[in-house]
């Protein structure tokens, strides 16, 4: 019984640590930021990444709304652009060594395509997490996002998220 009580306390800690009345302590804030980052970036997303975000409840709603509207951060975009550029340069070098290797598109198109995909991924995942959390603030943000121009896959994810909330 004591163990169950301890377990309940431990599970509740993320939200306790980030109580509404005061700003969260840095460690709790970092844990939430890492959970958000893991959800936005996961590739197969089969390891409970969304659950790890929704544990934090409405405290992460403003962050999710920021990602819904803004996608990836400027620093993350810059980091990805540089690593995509380096990957393309490596492919170009190999294409010179192995004539059968063909570059799929121009360097700038390659970077734009996959940086754009990451940005869309952030927005889609933010919409899905907002739908999982629910509430009027989440619904309002999703409705507002629908009024803006979006990529097709982002728009569909926002529409579905809204349907789920309503």
């Amino acid at each position: 019984m004591r163990i169950f009580r301890s377990l309940a306390l431990a599970v509740a800690l993320p939200s306790v640590g980030m109580a509404q009345s005061s700003p969260p302590p840095p460690a709790a804030s970092e844990r939430a930021a890492r959970a958000l980052s893991a959800w936005y970036e996961c590739q197969d997303c089969d390891a409970g990444e969304l659950n790890a975000v929704t544990r934090y409840g409405e405290r992460v709603v403003p962050s999710l709304i920021a990602a819904l509207n803004g996608g990836a951060s400027p620093a993350r975009r810059e980091g990805l652009r540089r690593s995509l550029g380096a990957a393309y340069d490596q492919m170009a070098e190999q294409a010179q060594r192995y004539p059968e290797r063909v570059l799929p598109e121009s360097r700038s198109d390659y970077i734009e395509r996959y940086a754009g995909n990451l940005d869309a991924q952030y927005r889609i995942r933010a919409a899905q997490a907002l739908a999982a959390l629910g509430g009027p603030q989440a619904a309002g943000a999703l409705e507002a996002a629908l009024a803006k121009p979006q990529r097709d896959d982002v728009r569909r994810a926002v529409e579905r998220s809204l349907q789920k909330i309503k």
Partner: protein
């Protein structure tokens, strides 16, 4: 006692979280001579953008403002690191407050092992992102005994970024350093002869055998016996196996992986063991385009080419032979129903039977479905991946089925085929980040970041060719492209028969 239990639970819950790290990290392997001066291998600069990982930095963060970097260098062989900032004027650089083991030297900051802080880095919404360029520094000579025989040591540079008191971004650069040179010392008596190596190719050999001194079979903590060969390799006198494992696995870019078990070395001196390599294995892949958007078929072909090149570079021994088929709009619902989100938000495979019964599935081959849904990718060997390992049983799906969504990156397909070839379950090391070890974000099975990936380890490639498990093992064997039987080497297994999952290339 109660406190101890609570503490333990907290630790367990903390470590069970899939939120592992911010998305920036590199992991590299060197031999000692490469990391002492002139250290030509250490010319690479790692870009570290200044600012937050998340667009709003973190829940409850103080908002925009200058960022502080806390840099820790844990190194005895490396001399430290050099840091330059792109997008920062000389005047801005002068205004930075540099403390700890960091010292300004002209237009750069030199960081010595230990802790350093750099305060006042500009981070403003809408302003161009300043980028730090880190480069490791080498010593003239490595300290004596820095790397024990047959082991490697790991050194690390880490950067944590803070906005006020809140950590908002991070970067880690790991360097695994081992001794250089042959693992085997003369005198040599026996010989391995690899025949049929294609022009311009060389081979990597992973070998278990009995020597005068011991069973050399990679039983932890001993590393696997690996070396490169262009045809003939001299060996010490290898003995009849006795109770030792005796086998050879040979990997190359232009040939199938050659796997010979029960290699019959005898105690005689001067033995020559000859092995003839076989051509690359052609792996048919049926790509079904269930997305009417323009350019998807071309994109799928580009992803397939990328996978072929990456699998060749990593000596998997296969060449993909794709056939692209359109799927009519009327069948899209059937295809799309095969993948979805469960109540907890996990991406799961479901309703595969109607797909398998449809005209849009080829049995005994890899089937990849490009669908108009906003996710990256999912292989269906396991319908729903559990969140704990080991001890769970997971329902089998069909490893020949893979879905690729609209936010895929150019290595998503290569990653999912890694699962099809037996790197699973994801949570048990099928994903490199769940394994830990020496994997970096560039590993093709890394899942926690959209950054480009390009490597498989030797331990992964061995399993992709040989793995047997309850979900059908590697599809190379199941689909008849490699001979049965396989070998059950789960990701976390390390023994005489199973190399470490992150066993490196020599």
């Amino acid at each position: 006692m109660r406190t101890a239990v609570c503490g333990l639970l907290l630790v367990l819950l903390g470590s069970a979280s899939p939120a592992r790290a911010f998305n920036h990290g590199l992991s590299e392997r060197f031999c000692l001579a490469d990391v002492v001066l002139p250290a030509t291998a250490l010319q690479k600069r790692a870009p570290v953008p200044v600012g937050c990982e998340l667009v709003d930095c973190c829940p409850g963060c103080p908002g925009a403002g200058p960022v502080e970097w806390r840099i820790a260098i844990d190194a005895k062989i490396l001399a430290g690191a050099e840091l330059r900032f792109e997008g920062l004027s000389a005047a801005d650089l002068k205004h930075l407050k540099v403390t700890g083991k960091a010292k300004r030297q002209g237009d750069r900051i030199v960081l010595r092992p230990g802790e350093s802080r750099i305060r006042g880095l500009p981070y403003k919404a809408g302003a161009p992102v300043v980028v730090g360029l880190l480069r490791p520094l080498a010593r003239k000579k490595a300290p004596a005994g820095a790397v024990p025989a047959r082991r490697s040591v790991t050194e690390q540079i880490s950067v944590r970024q803070f906005l006020g008191a809140s950590p908002v971004n991070g970067f880690k650069w790991k360097f695994a350093i081992r001794r250089c040179g042959p693992i085997v010392d003369p005198p040599f008596f026996d010989k391995l002869q690899i025949q049929g190596i294609a022009s311009g190719d060389d081979a990597v050999v992973m070998m278990d055998a009995r020597t005068q001194a011991q069973c050399r079979q990679g039983t932890p903590p001993d590393p696997d016996w690996t070396f490169r060969s262009t045809g003939e390799t001299l060996l010490p006198n290898l003995l009849s196996p006795g109770s030792c494992n005796s086998e050879i696995a040979i990997f190359s870019k232009k040939h199938a992986m050659k796997w010979e078990t029960g290699v019959p070395w005898t105690n005689n001196l001067g033995e020559v063991h000859a092995v003839t390599l076989d051509p690359l294995i052609d792996v048919p892949v049926h790509i079904w385009v269930a997305n009417q958007s323009a350019g998807v078929a071309a994109l799928a072909s580009a992803h397939m080419n990328r996978a072929t090149n990456l699998y060749q570079d990593n000596m998997v021994g296969v060449r993909f032979v794709p056939t692209v088929h359109p799927v009519p709009g009327s069948a899209e619902a059937t295809i799309n129903a095969g993948v979805g989100m469960d109540a907890s938000g996990d991406l799961v495979c479901q309703a595969l039977a109607p797909i398998r019964a449809s005209a849009f599935y080829t049995s005994g081959a890899l089937n990849v479905y490009y669908v108009n849904e906003g996710f990256t990718g999912r292989n269906c060997a396991i319908l729903q991946t559990p969140h704990s390992c080991p001890g769970s049983t997971f329902a089998a799906g069909d490893a020949n089925i893979t879905f690729v969504g609209t936010t895929a990156n150019d290595t998503t397909l290569a990653h999912e085929i890694g699962h099809a070839f037996g790197l699973r379950p994801a949570i048990c090391g099928g994903h490199a980040d769940s394994f830990g070890g020496s994997f970096g974000h560039d590993n093709l099975m890394w899942t926690g970041s959209a950054d480009p990936r390009s490597t498989f380890s030797l331990g992964q490639v061995f399993r992709m060719n040989t793995h047997a498990d309850q979900w059908g093992g590697t599809m190379l064997i199941q689909n008849g492209q490699r001979p049965a039987p396989g070998r059950p080497c789960r990701p976390q297994d390390a023994s005489a028969l199973c190399p470490l999952l992150d066993a490196p290339w020599p």
